[in-house]
């Protein structure tokens, strides 16, 4: 599922999307992967905020989440949209992916700096973006 999209992106070249449906499916898969990363980060931020984890560990989790989302996003970006309707989808998802990337990076940086406040500040954005991705996935099931 979402997991393998990210993994596949690292290992295999991605084919083009031939139809709008195909593209939509790829978009949905990408959104699922990034959703997973965002929720993971959210959980990690929560755990860090309640002092239930060591800072190095939190950094690794956030860094992995960021990498995973980044890989999925760049895989998706490399797929040629087959038509105009797909272009809109691309833009919509693209915005979400950018927002996710920003939040994930900010979280990772804050964690590495051991900046508890900055880290906690990402909880809200991550949660919001997660919900938006959730909505996106549901809309394109």
């Amino acid at each position: 599922m979402a997991v393998s999209v990210a993994l596949a992106g690292c290992v295999q070249p991605v084919g083009p999307a031939r139809t709008a449906d195909d593209y939509e499916r790829k978009a949905k898969d990408t959104a699922e992967t990034v959703l997973s990363s965002v929720r993971t980060a959210e959980l990690a931020v929560d755990v860090a905020g309640r002092d239930r984890a060591f800072p190095p560990y939190v950094s690794v989790v956030l860094s992995d989440a960021e990498d995973e989302a980044g890989a999925a996003a760049s895989t998706f970006a490399s797929v040629q949209p087959p038509g105009e309707s797909s272009d809109r989808l691309r833009d919509e998802l693209g915005d979400l992916l950018d927002a996710a990337d920003d939040a994930l990076s900010a979280a990772r940086i804050a964690a590495r700096r051991d900046d508890g406040d900055a880290l906690a500040a990402q909880a809200g954005p991550l949660n919001r973006i997660g919900d938006q991705l959730d909505t996106f996935v549901a809309a394109h099931e």
């Binding site: 599922m1 984890a53 560990y57």
Partner: protein
Amino acid sequence: MKRFLGITLGVLTAMGGFVDIGDIVANAQTGARFRMALAWAVVLGVVGICVFAEMAGRVAAVSQRPVFDLVRERLGAGVGLANLLASFFITFLTLTAEIAGVALALQLATDVHYLLWLPLCGLLVWLVIWRVRFESMERIFGLLGLVLIVLAVALWRLEPDWGGLVDSARHPAVPLGEGRPTYFYYAIALFGAAMTPYEVFFFSSGAVEERWSRRDLILNKANVFIGFPLGGMLSLALMGLTATVFAPVGIGPDHLSTVALPVSVALGKVGLALVIVGFFAATFGAALETGLSAGYTVSQYFGWPWGKRFAPREASRFHVVVLVSILVAVLFGLTAVDPIKVTEYSIVLSAAALPLTYVPILLVANDPDYMGDLVNRRLSNVLGTVYLVLLVLVALVTIPLMVVTKAGA
């Protein structure tokens, strides 16, 4: 006291076999995606490995010959060679993944990238194989691996919906939104992870290394019937953890870091520390087993002296095979190949090759020339044969399923 120590062989093998990096991620992923609907696959795998490991241990104790030693004799040199090539390749893949797993566990503790740890991990694994006595090695990692009981404790602490979990396990239906092929692909992955060939090579060669005899047969049964189910329960605990924490929010754990999160949620820093130690012990133990198994399989096919019970110079080719295998595994890992993906492939390919490993065991365990009066009883044979049919079926469908589902996508 010796009895108690003897049990650690089974426990180590169980931990190494069940809870290595692939198992960790496979059970974690399955729990997050299917909740407990694939628990049956783990149970099936546990029963299978118990049946065959008991036989393999009995064969080794009675005839002083480990399983792979007999493959060439019973299947012939040609088939034996094919078996060797397949088994060695899969064991090597697993070795790569395990060493990477050790490095990943160290990364979790230190936030130093796992690739930087990789060569050191390879060196440590080799050093332990080179210098540490078999019994000590086994004892240390057996006990350390028990730390993964923290997974069960974490699950209990989270106060999950037990009814829901049990319900999900007892109604193994394919969930909405998932395809049948993918469901069975994951089932095969779990099953293959539970019954990986190297466990049997290690277990039976280990019985010879420890100089088991007929007197140790009760020990054999205890190891198998306590150790492996224990490993199985920990797998299920991990599955339950991710079913509880990840499934509701759509997290798909495909990094070792993510897998530890539920324990952190449940038990805080102490739990997290324990689970990281547990991951380290499990993957390190499994790396030792697969490294040694690489040496065991090749040496036993060619009839070379093998094993840790002699001074290394008395089994030079064996040790060179082990050394080279570890070296190449580290180099392969350093190409930044995704260790999780390597493991997934190794598990699934293991599933495809299981009949090769288990047919000889069944044959020899029934041979009175080797076993004397300790040939298989009816129950072992019935179970063994049933499993063999199952293994052949699994072997036939594995690769097609892998292609159809794009390796579980």
